[in-house]
């Protein structure tokens, strides 16, 4: 058990070391990168991804995948934004209930398709990725919800800060991460997700209700995408049918996998995912600061993801070897 724990620690240490190394190297070229303001910029790039990454982690741990998160984000943000626009005077806090509720519902549909029809999640969520995006166009009549309709209290969450100049939205993202940590470490269902992902055949024999657990992880992923949706409205002050959440799944899945979550299920930690998200944020903030031309940034961003995964893989193989030795 001690050996297992030390491996887990080592993997997260690996990502932390990558973050430190990256920060040091960039700061040598650009001292501006090593400032409080730069930290604020990096943190502000991460909250949406971090919130959705917690849901994606649970789905991956349960040996599924959720490609539809960007579209769930877009649809729940759009409905919430239209509610603010068409029902003036509605309490802005209600937007959170609506966005999270719609997200959870969309997630449940994913889960139901996966469990009832025994379809692979990658196919189901590829379908709903397009379906939910299409619904966003239909409900909005392909029109954007403009800045003036987003409540100023909601927009202020991304601007005003309780402490250290760090806006509320970032604290919310870390609160979601902490809640997820508590959920997976200290609740029965949380542990069952890991058990299901490590061995789906044995799980029902151990009394795990596979259908309920699967529905739950997809519903959580949807609900957190919905939360990320209203945070999008807060952060950017508008909701657009084609842009809002478009391509979001790639950022989230990359961050989650860099964070050490196995796409083969059963393995993953909240701390690892948080570090994965932060590493991606560092890279996204550093590329423009280094003056790398726009034409090259996409390729470099992709290369960084691959390098991080290769480092992670080599660390993990050593870890597994270590585990075998420890067991032997």
């Amino acid at each position: 058990m001690n050996a297992l724990r030390s491996i887990l620690v080592r993997r997260e240490t690996g990502i932390a070391v990558m973050i430190v190394l990256f920060t040091v190297v960039v700061s040598l070229y650009k001292p501006q990168f090593f400032t409080l303001n730069s930290l604020r910029v990096i943190l502000l790039l991460t909250p949406l991804v971090m919130i959705a990454a917690m849901g994606q982690m649970l789905v991956l741990v349960a040996r599924h995948v959720d490609l539809s998160i960007g579209s769930m984000l877009g649809l729940s943000a759009m409905v919430t934004g239209m509610m603010f626009r068409d029902m003036p005077g509605i309490p802005w806090g209600l937007g959170f209930v609506v966005a999270i509720g719609i997200g959870a519902l969309l997630g449940l549909v994913n889960g139901a398709l996966v469990t009832l029809f025994r379809l692979p999640a990658i196919i189901v969520t590829l379908g709903t990725l397009n379906l939910y995006r299409g619904l966003t166009f239909i409900v909005s009549n392909a029109r954007q919800v403009d800045r003036q309709f987003i409540p100023s209290e909601l927009k202020a969450m991304s601007q005003t800060s309780p402490i250290l100049g760090i806006p509320w939205i970032i604290f919310m993202a870390f609160a979601v991460a902490l809640a997820t940590y508590w959920f997976v470490m200290h609740t029965r269902v949380g542990r069952q997700i890991f058990a299901l992902g490590s061995n789906p055949v044995a799980a029902p024999l151990r009394g795990i209700k596979v259908t309920q657990v699967t529905l739950l992880v997809f519903a959580i992923s949807g609900a957190l995408s919905g939360l990320a949706g209203i945070m999008y409205a807060s952060r950017w002050g508008f909701v657009n049918p084609s842009n809002t959440g478009f391509g979001f799944e790639f950022q989230v899945i990359a961050a989650v996998v860099i964070g050490g979550v196995s796409i083969n299920g059963g393995v993953g930690s909240v701390l690892g995912v948080v570090l994965g998200v932060l590493l991606m944020g560092c890279v996204a903030a550093a590329l423009p600061l280094l003056g790398i031309p726009g034409t090259a940034q996409g390729a470099i961003y992709g290369a960084v993801i691959l390098v991080a995964l290769l480092i992670d893989r080599s660390v993990r193989q050593q870890g597994i070897a270590g585990l075998r030795i420890a067991r032997a």
């Binding site: 650009k30 166009f137 392909a142 991304s158 903030a285």
Partner: protein
């Protein structure tokens, strides 16, 4: 007897449909992509014109603004047999063949809000919001007047390959050579890809890399809003003047709280309004698509067809400030 009446009936139908077609012409506008608030306003110009004059109007657009994504939409409209195709082209050269096919069927093809530069022979005419050769100079003058014609400035653009953006940036680089702007220095041109996240990162990097920056020109609606938000949340609006080309609906809050003092654009509404009137007049023979010929458009006055069958809806950019922004509802 039956046969005769059938013939009469058919003749009557033919006559009546013929008469209907003469009554109202069918205009379609194909936008760059759906969900783009810019085209809402342009479309509104078409819609309101067609409520007053003899045209039926429809707006269609592909989901993404890729070079070839409009081709199936144009083909569908040729099949449908519309009279006029107005289009904001996503590519300067990918549409040539399908435009030729449309014109072979007698459809008038007009590019609106952007032209197929270098391939003008494949369309009938173009309606541009303003004289694009002056945009760069107007924007430099705008930022110059905001910063007292002294200090470092930067450009935050959309994508690296966007033709209009690059044309205007070239114009800015030319204009700044004027002795009037001798104390201004263009230190960087960066690209936010018209995404809020990317535009924000680029704007933050500009502020970090150039602490003495006095002004930023973002000639794109997404970029100028993102740049304004960065300056607003950092509380540096006094030091850094953000301006550019933006939509009043997206910039209103920033102008009212003083984050942005002034920005520019044209009226997309007038483009649609003018295009609909011209289409109806051309089909009715009241206007001729010849360089130098003129026609009347209600509210806009006498419009001249310029070199290259090109028409401008206004001669220079409109400047929006706290005083006038509430007069614009797009």
């Amino acid at each position: 007897m039956l046969k005769k009446s059938l013939i009469a009936l058919a003749a009557g139908l033919a006559l009546s449909t013929g008469a209907l077609a003469q009554d109202k012409i069918d205009i379609v506008f194909i936008g760059k992509n759906t969900g783009n608030p810019y085209f809402d306003s342009l479309t509104k110009g078409f819609v309101e014109a067609c409520q007053k004059i003899a045209c039926n109007f429809e707006f269609v657009a592909p989901a993404t603004a890729e070079a070839t994504s409009q081709i199936p939409f144009i083909e569908a409209q040729i099949q449908r047999g519309v009279d006029v195709i107005a289009i904001s082209p996503n590519s300067p050269d990918a549409l040539n063949q399908v435009f030729d096919a449309a014109r072979a069927k007698g459809i008038i093809v007009m590019t609106v809000n952007g032209d197929i530069t270098g391939n003008e022979s494949h369309r009938d005419l173009t309606i541009l919001p303003t004289d694009f050769t002056k945009v760069g100079a107007d924007q430099i003058e705008m930022v110059g007047s905001l910063i007292g014609y002294e200090g470092e400035i930067a450009i935050l653009s959309a994508t690296t390959e966007a033709p209009d953006q690059n044309f205007w940036i070239k114009g800015m680089n030319e204009a700044i050579k004027d002795p009037k702007y001798a104390k201004m220095k263009l230190v960087a041109t960066v690209y936010g890809d018209d995404q809020p996240e990317k535009s924000t990162s680029e704007m933050e990097a500009l502020l970090a890399n150039y602490p003495d920056l006095k002004g930023v020109i973002a000639p794109t609606t997404v970029g100028v809003a993102a740049a304004a938000q960065v300056v607003q949340s950092r509380g540096v609006a006094e030091q850094v003047n953000v301006t550019g080309l933006g939509l009043p609906s997206e910039m209103r809050d920033f102008v009212k709280d003083g984050t942005v003092k002034a920005f520019q654009l044209w009226s997309p509404y007038n483009e649609g309004w003018l295009a609909a009137h011209l289409a109806v007049d051309l089909k009715a023979g009241k206007a001729k698509n010849e360089v130098g010929s003129t026609f009347e458009v209600p509210d806009l006055g006498t419009i001249t067809i310029n070199e290259g069958n090109s028409i401008n809806t206004q001669s220079s950019l409109t400047t929006f400030t706290a005083e006038n922004i509430d007069q614009f509802d797009f």
